[in-house]
């Protein structure tokens, strides 16, 4: 399960144990509400737990419904209102060797459009003990929005295509800089290049483009912006972007930008000013532990200072620019490292972006536990499904999960999430080895994985080039442990370099996906064959049945299905009451 390095902060047993202990110690609040996504005038139940070492016998939540930080002390409100929580149970915790207590309370319903802010105090009625839930030495302020906003239906139905703009297509009539190093250098992709390939993408059948960052940045990947309101001149102009959006929309393709609210470049003018003057207007946009050289960053990368997104100035800067792009026609955002910024920030972000564009969509990158993923319901339309990614690679690439274990995982995974959280599904992205590479460039296995991916509830994402056999020349993780993401970000092949058979297969599977519509996100996954000995997994989705042969041998499967919709391989065959699949072959049929 750990073959890939995906869950960076939860990769090892020791990290997971430390995380578990941390969640059980101290004052803990998992911002998963009940109901998870409050509607107008619905009461909201909050749960807080106290670890064995917290000498408190009272818990109070303070809340405000205006843009003010709630305050109070020992149960008495100073700004906003106070809600005393009730102890609902005492739990024994063997790991901590002590008792935890579980507290609940209800915040009253609020009108449409309210953002509720709240803080949590634990205190002791017979001592002076009082402590607020904090993040380091900063008060943690939680929040949620109250609205009737539904999930963006176009996102549920989407087939998404992920592009790294520097690597997809250069200006028409030009080529990539073939002498550039993919690990560090600009290779020359542009927005005009993308626009010139929209017909290619429309023929493929995708319905949404996700562009990784396009804002000005010192790096080729641009996950460290210096300006949130412009296009990197090496990619083109704002007008080029407007044209890309207009041309995409003309073809029925939505455009999703990558938005990094967590951090920016250390060359961003706001940070440069903050480092020059501790009283600069933007100094509070960041968290200086010791001005000017010690500050919070993205995982210790000093060139990526972290925004203090709950500072009103930083918040306004980020939200105003998100709105700017929506007003220019962009359809939504993929939110980079979405578990960095606070839940309160995302509730504000959601309210503002929906006000700007009613049908805009947000999905977050939350490379963390399903419990945390789930907590963003109501704040985003969805979160990227890294947990499915990890398990499907174990099942189909590494063969470390047999069909029966994968089946059990898959159905529990789907059951765990509320229906109004969309989980975009993928088998690779720009941060890891491509799927084709880890299966030894065997396109049979890539097709099989696609058959699985395109029959899941979440909208599938294709990483650029997958459809024409783009692979790698070396592993992302080097023998010395360093990551060379450049290997998974090679330039898009065009013309003769494309595998046209594979492209045709992806055209067909996208057609099947789009024809199925809501079947994929409304019907259960019902196992039909779970055969560990032969590596076969078959499941029904509404009227369809999907059969996967995960092994390098042909199999005959006694299963009665109707007409074939799609095969990975011409040698796949259906006879009465019987399916023949070649090695790594699969089918979608009508049941």
């Amino acid at each position: 399960m750990n073959r890939d390095f995906i869950f960076g902060t939860l990769h090892t047993e020791a990290q997971r144990l430390a995380f578990e202990r941390d969640a059980r110690e101290g004052i803990h609040h998992d911002p998963y509400l009940s109901p998870p996504d409050p509607r107008p005038h619905q009461e909201v139940t909050l749960t807080v737990t106290l670890g064995p070492q917290v000498p408190a016998d009272r818990v109070t939540v303070y809340y405000t419904t205006e843009d003010m930080v709630p305050r109070g002390h020992r149960g008495r409100p100073q700004v906003g209102e106070a809600v005393p929580l009730t102890r609902v149970s005492v739990e024994w915790d063997t790991l901590l060797w002590g008792y935890r207590t579980v507290w609940q309370g209800r915040l009253p319903g609020q009108p449409e459009g309210t953002v509720v802010r709240y803080t949590v105090e634990a205190w002791h009625s017979a001592t002076r003990f009082s402590r607020f839930l904090q993040d380091g030495d900063r008060l943690r302020v939680f929040g949620y929005g109250v609205d009737e906003e539904p999930v963006a239906e176009w996102l549920r139905a989407a087939v998404i295509y992920q592009i790294m703009p520097d690597r997809f297509a250069p200006d028409p009539g030009t080529d990539f800089d073939r002498s550039a190093d993919p690990q560090h250098d600009i290779m020359g992709g542009t927005l005009r290049g993308i626009t010139s390939r929209l017909d290619y993408l429309a023929r493929l059948g995708i319905t949404a483009l996700w562009l990784t960052p396009i804002f000005p940045s010192p790096t080729y990947h641009r996950y460290d912006a210096t300006d949130y309101g412009a296009v990197d001149p090496r990619l083109g102009t704002l007008e080029d972007m407007d044209a890309l959006v207009a041309e995409a929309h003309r073809r029925g393709i939505r455009v999703i930008l990558d938005f990094v609210a967590n951090h920016c470049s250390d060359r961003h003018p706001a940070f440069v000013a903050a480092q020059q003057d501790p009283h600069a207007a933007t100094a509070k946009w960041f968290t200086f532990e010791e001005w000017p050289h010690r500050y919070r960053t993205f995982f210790g990368v000093r060139s990526m200072p972290q925004f203090n997104v709950d500072d009103p100035g930083a918040r306004a800067y980020l939200i105003d620019h998100a709105v700017f792009w929506l007003k220019r026609g962009v359809d939504g955002f993929r939110l980079d490292y979405a578990n960095g910024p606070s839940h309160l920030f995302w509730s504000e972000f959601r309210r503002a972006t929906r006000s700007a564009r009613q049908d805009s969509a947000l999905f977050g990158e939350v490379v963390h536990t399903p419990a945390l993923m789930r907590s963003y319901v109501g704040r985003m339309d969805g979160v990227l499904d890294f947990v499915l990614l990890q398990h499907l690679r174990a099942f189909l690439a590494y063969h470390t999960l047999p069909p029966s274990a994968f089946d059990v995982f898959l159905r529990r995974h789907v059951a765990y999430f509320p229906p109004d959280l969309v989980l975009p599904a993928f088998f690779d992205n720009h941060d890891m080895n491509r799927f084709l590479w880890i299966v030894g460039n065997d396109t049979r296995r890539l097709r099989l994985a696609a058959l699985f991916l395109f029959t899941m509830p979440g909208p599938p994402i294709l990483y650029y080039g997958t459809e024409v056999g783009l692979s790698q020349d070396a592993d992302v993780v080097q023998p010395n442990g360093w990551h060379h993401h450049g290997h998974a970000r090679l330039p898009m092949p065009w013309g003769e370099d494309q595998d046209r058979d594979l492209y045709a297969f992806f055209q067909r599977i996208i057609r099947v996906r789009r024809a199925g519509g809501a079947v994929w996100w409304t019907t259960p996954i019902t196992p039909r064959v779970v055969d560990d000995a032969r590596g076969v997994y078959a499941y029904a989705r509404g009227p369809y049945v999907v059969v996967l042969n995960t092994r390098d041998h042909g199999v005959d499967i006694p299963l009665d299905v109707g007409s074939l919709l799609l095969t990975t391989d011409d040698r796949a065959d259906v006879r009465r009451g019987h399916i023949h699949l070649p090695p790594y072959g699969g089918i979608i049929a009508v049941e």
Copy 2:
């Protein structure tokens, strides 16, 4: 918290982590029912969890209401009835990095006197997978009794005195063998010796005697019996025992025997026969992993073979002998290593012992988590409170828990347990250093600990000699890690060797305890002063207030109390609105 070696199987972090993982992996059932102690015709809800690696999508419970092992396969009953469980939730488990599922189902209500047996199968509807909950390679059969039996009220109200018969009192007119080694040798205490000291005990005020084992055994401690129906001849005769019981009862003192159902001596005739002949009638009373030399034991001690208590022969042998003692007048049993035998066994044991003596009481030694302790409700009247023991020693002896942390622990601890499980409370016993020894033989601190112990909800237990200052000459745990329990089992001092002031103090505190009656086990513990800086802890219990100064300095405490009932020290003083306590001093007052 780990200063003492108490929780042998859960002493280290690694042990606790392994235990936690084990409880989350595989098929798991915690035999804590809902309701915890089923009454006639009440439905019983059972909960089963499946770990991430269990490839099952169905759970079935098979049950019988006669003395038969329930059987079934893939949901179909073969012996007894089947109840399909329903999946009630999916939980993410970060430690195991996978999903667990929680299943519940209801067994129908049964008439008074029924013992319900049940087994648990997890299976998969689309594969051949089927597995039962097992203990090693043996089917686990659970069980519970259905009855209206209340807790024995005399146990709730008891002040218990624990005697090791070899070490308490020799025959009148004789002395202990002073040349004997307390670690290994018989020192000469007898039942007639105990009977001759009943007036001493009655004057002290205790209401129940707990005798550690008296059955024939090769050892002085007798936790490895060779015959469950006789008195060790070195202690006396059956008639001596009858006389002890009669004389105790005449003084209003109950008699509790120590009963070891988990294991016997390897010289027990049943085991000798089983080792000689694998087809012997008693061969199935034990679990031979490889006959005749590899068999289950008490923690690897080869001289203590473990009974297979669910074998009908072994079960009958143990239960018949328990009934034998009750019919001779004994009032109940302290059940040694009670978490060794199955819950089903204890339900049977309970039914039989209550049938024999309606007012008999059982309390178990469960040196384990509160979660496991709690699971014996309905099967026993109580369990010994090793968790309180550990924390009170940390609070009062080692000062590793400040008053605020102890207060939080204590009130969570009391809230965790159902009211119909009695938790006998103690600050030492025969398996660890005496309390007086760990506080440097400072009787002020012993009195303070007694003040606490005698104002807790559970009936207090005094280990013989505590009341007259019996201490040790060396630690139980030797520098080399070996345990020399003999140091905590020195012979009882009599005559001039007794601390008579201390004895008078214990007389007084027992009188306060008995006068308070149900106040102790029905009213909450309400903190009045929790002062970490000065080490003061005060709490109310109904009309009483208890004030403890845990430190080696005098304190003045602003607290208004009424008349003094008891002080640990003459220098303790109450003035209007103000209490003065000398170092390690404490009081009980009327509020």
